[in-house]
């Protein structure tokens, strides 16, 4: 019996997959989407899949999006699965975001700051009205204007505050960070491990948690000290060479949230930072990550841990959408035997209740 059932299931699965392939392709009269088109024209979806798939490769992310029919969590899952087939060569030197080739850089704390406010290719200031001109295909926009770029340095806003002694400094450290992909998460999780989890965490989950800290669940008073987006050089030191070489450039988005800190017995009143860094152009995610990073520092800064966003276990165990998908969707798997026992239990209880 069992054998027959399995054969039947196999045929059904094959047919389901064939239908999936047909649905993925859509109406064959329409031209097929190329990976180059997805990479170029759905670039922010590609960025999100790389960030949550925790693997930077634009071509692979575009393939994952195509295969997943645009389901970005499914695409991140595909990318995570693929990365497990590749050997690990090592870890890069930490990217230096102050040396970023800036495409966007804004601050909400200083209007006039060295290097200025650079808006970059942003949705901000658009009116969020549907643009029906895009519905009529075939348009190539006018080239974006260019202006002479001065070589003015763009120091970090946090560095400006730190010069005055008003920003808690990061302690210099070259400590080897723990790696979530190599060892299971355990608690307490130190800040580098938390940042890794947040960097690959679900944008929607972190957005809601960050929002909750603004609404009073965690008592945050954040300012966007700085957001910057652009290309950073990634350097790697191959053991056979013994000196660092450049692997290439990746685009990242960084957010420095500046938060009030009333001071403690050992620390004077000063600002503290929440930090966000993500692959690609992912400003909402970087901001949400920075809010949640700061909330998770409550214990370290001697603040009461009362809100969900301040609870390490709650945040870190639930921010990964691939893990969350696995556990939620496993409910679809056959639970026939489990459920049979539940059924019998309920029937027994009902009989007992009726008997009394």
């Amino acid at each position: 019996m069992a054998y027959v059932a399995v054969k039947g299931g196999e045929r059904a699965i094959e047919a389901a997959h064939a239908w999936l392939a047909e649905e993925r392709r859509g109406d064959p009269v329409l031209p097929e989407l190329s990976l180059a088109q997805i990479e170029a024209q759905l670039g922010l979806a590609v960025d999100r899949v790389m960030a949550e798939g925790a693997c930077h490769d634009r071509g692979l992310a575009a393939l994952a999006i195509k295969q997943a029919r645009g389901d970005l969590i499914e695409a991140a899952f595909l990318l995570r699965a693929y990365r497990t087939t590749l050997p690990r060569f090592g870890a890069s030197l930490p990217v230096e975001t102050d040396a970023m080739r800036i495409r966007r850089r804004i601050s909400a704390t200083y209007k006039e700051l060295p290097g200025g406010q650079v808006l970059g290719p942003t949705f901000d200031y658009t009116h969020r009205l549907l643009d029906f001109a895009l519905a009529a295909e075939g348009g190539v926009p006018e080239p974006a204007p260019e202006a002479p770029a001065d070589e003015a340095p763009m120091p970090r806003v946090t560095a400006l505050l730190a010069q005055e002694g008003l920003m808690a400094p990061e302690l210099p450290s070259e400590a080897e960070p723990r790696d979530l992909t190599r060892e299971p998460l355990n608690f307490p999780a130190e800040r580098p491990l938390r940042l890794q989890a947040l960097a690959r965490g679900d944008e929607g989950f972190l957005l809601s948690l960050g929002y909750s800290t603004q609404r009073g669940y965690g008592n945050a008073h954040p300012f966007v000290g700085e957001i910057r987006m652009g290309a950073v050089t990634v350097e790697f030191e191959p053991p056979e060479l013994g000196f660092p070489i450049e692997l290439g450039e990746v685009t990242v988005t960084e957010c420095q949230m500046v938060n009030q800190f009333a001071g403690s017995k050992t620390e004077p009143p000063q600002f503290t930072r929440g930090y966000g860094l993500v692959f690609g152009q992912g400003e909402r995610k970087a901001m949400a990550m920075a809010l949640v990073d700061r909330a998770l520092r409550a214990e370290e800064l001697g603040e009461p841990v009362e809100a969900p966003a301040q609870d390490q276990e709650f945040v870190l165990y639930h921010c990964d959408n691939v893990e969350a998908t696995g556990f939620v969707e496993h409910l679809k798997l056959p639970h026939y035997v489990d459920f049979q026992s539940e059924l019998e239990k309920i029937r027994l209880l009902r009989r007992e209740a009726d008997g009394e």
């Binding site: 930077h56 495409r103 966007r104 960070p177 790697f236 692997l247 990242v252 930072r273």
Partner: protein
């Protein structure tokens, strides 16, 4: 090596057409694709943390004259990694180096710098000039 890491195989091949032929080489390792864990720093300047992995392709070669070259380049372009490794080896040969620098590396670097300048110019055009700054000067 940074220049070759930023150039695709097509661009490198196009430049090599203008250069003296490269010597024959044997592959010592790869080209093979793997991962490098990219790291950031907490707060931008503090302790390192693992940001996420990136695909990287590496290759090691030995030229007929014994010089060994290594390359690690972001992405999955095996042809790029092999060409970069061969060039890494050939550039160590003082008799080949000047011609390769002028025919391959310098033009690629110039093209990359031009792209970066163009992008910087677009960014500069979106730089905000506040009225208060203009009137208060």
């Amino acid at each position: 090596m940074g220049v070759l890491a930023r150039a695709d195989a097509e661009a490198i091949t196009a430049r090599l057409a203008e250069a003296p032929a490269l010597p024959r080489h044997a592959r010592l390792r790869g080209p093979e694709t793997g991962l490098v864990m990219a790291r950031g720093r907490q707060g931008g300047d503090g302790a390192p943390f693992n940001l996420g992995e990136m695909t990287v392709t590496r290759c090691s070669v030995r030229l007929a004259d014994g010089l060994v070259g290594h390359a690690y380049v972001a992405g999955r372009d095996t042809r790029q990694a092999e060409l970069a490794a061969v060039l890494d080896a050939a550039l160590q040969d003082p008799s080949r180096r000047p011609a390769l620098l002028s025919a391959v590396i310098e033009p690629l670097a110039a093209a990359q710098a031009a792209r970066a300048t163009r992008e910087a110019a677009k960014a500069a055009a979106t730089r905000v000039e506040f009225f208060t700054m203009a009137t208060m000067r």
